[in-house]
Assembly symmetry: C2
Homo-oligomer: 195 residues x 2
DNA sequence: TTGTCCCGACCGAACATTCGGTTAATCTAT
DNA sequence: ATAGATTAACCGAATGTTCGGTCGGGACAA
């Protein structure tokens, strides 16, 4: 927690800038030159703070995965009927997505070209499987429709939630927008569009 | 329709190969070297068939957009109550997504780095707005719930459908898998997960 | 004066694209 | 039927550019 007088970058503050650029141009479409311009420091200075481009990616997706897996440890995801736990995880996932928007966005877009990307994809699959198990239990307890394959339903549910990163942009301070989005997600997911 | 005896590439057959690689590595992550290896011809030979890398992208997303906009001209998207037209478009969009999987996948992933990508994004927005209008009409006709914002609902609906490209892989010939996916999409979208 | 932070200059590798030229199938005129 | 002309398809080598990353040194706070 030592803070210098000099207004300077840390790996964390640099990360925030980098993630923005990664999301705008794509990871592969972003050069260190782009990053240096966005950060306002020279290309070589970036290497003072991080080992390289891939470390920035690793830190970013790591933070996103931390947020997602954290949900599963919360009480709401552990107690109660499966369908209630599923709704809790659904809502919280949407919340975390919006809270950590740029980091999760990046996570959801990795393609598997580097070791870091493959690691991220694997951990993400892990998370998906945990939720799929929840959905399966809810079906077994009779609270969810059994006429749709569990695996398929999980994927579509996540497809809907994850699509938030494609368009959600936080509004000015104190907005209730995020709540409305979470409600809409839960309503559509569990009760559908129909009247 | 002239066909040469010689087993050789045309811009179209080359496109099929290129789109596969683009989807696997990402457009920016794909070099002409990668393409040439996948196609089994030399890097320079590719330039005999197409102007360059970006033309391949343009042809690919163009084909995807053609398929999507084609839906809106079909009878099912023009006649009947708005909610029925919406369900028709929903189902057909899922079908086109699976039929033209690699092309639509590429379309849904463009980031806007080149002129071609920006053109694709704009046309895609156009399509989304056409469907949003449909959803709005269905709400006005009283067939869809009015307690969720139209714009938001459209985005979530598309989020669910479009997520198909993240995991759907066609099975062997004569499979009924695609139908099942379409049914699941329609059921979840309109009636939700709940029993 | 020491260590942190930063810079411009630079590097080898990889990039998209171009070029000069070869091969082989098809067309033309006899 | 076939020699010669034409052309589509292809290639290896080279173009200039951009890439991620390195290096030696300067500025500044402690």
């Amino acid at each position: 927690m030592t803070m210098s007088k000099r207004d300077t970058y840390t790996p964390e503050t640099l990360l925030a800038v980098a993630v923005e650029v990664f999301n705008e141009r794509g990871y592969d479409g972003t050069s260190m030159e782009h990053l240096s311009r966005a950060a306002g420091i020279s290309k070589s200075s970036i290497y003072h703070h991080v080992r390289g481009k891939e470390e920035l990616l690793h830190r970013a997706v790591g933070r996103a995965l931390e947020g997602l897996f954290g949900i599963l440890d919360e009480q709401g995801a552990r107690d109660g009927r499966a369908v209630e736990r599923l709704e809790y995880v659904t809502r919280r996932t949407a919340e975390v997505l919006m809270d950590e928007l740029p980091y999760v966005t990046l996570l959801l877009r990795v393609r598997g070209n580097t070791a870091t990307e493959r690691w991220a994809m694997e951990r993400r699959r892990e998370f998906d499987q945990r939720v799929a198990a929840l959905l399966k239990d809810a079906v077994a307890e009779g609270d969810l429709r059994a006429d749709v394959d569990v695996r398929l339903a999980t994927r579509l549910l996540f497809g809907m939630i994850n699509s938030l990163v494609e368009w959600y942009r936080p509004e000015g301070r104190g907005s209730t927008e995020a709540e409305q989005v979470v409600d809409a997600v839960a309503r559509l997911a569990f009760d559908g569009l129909r009247t």
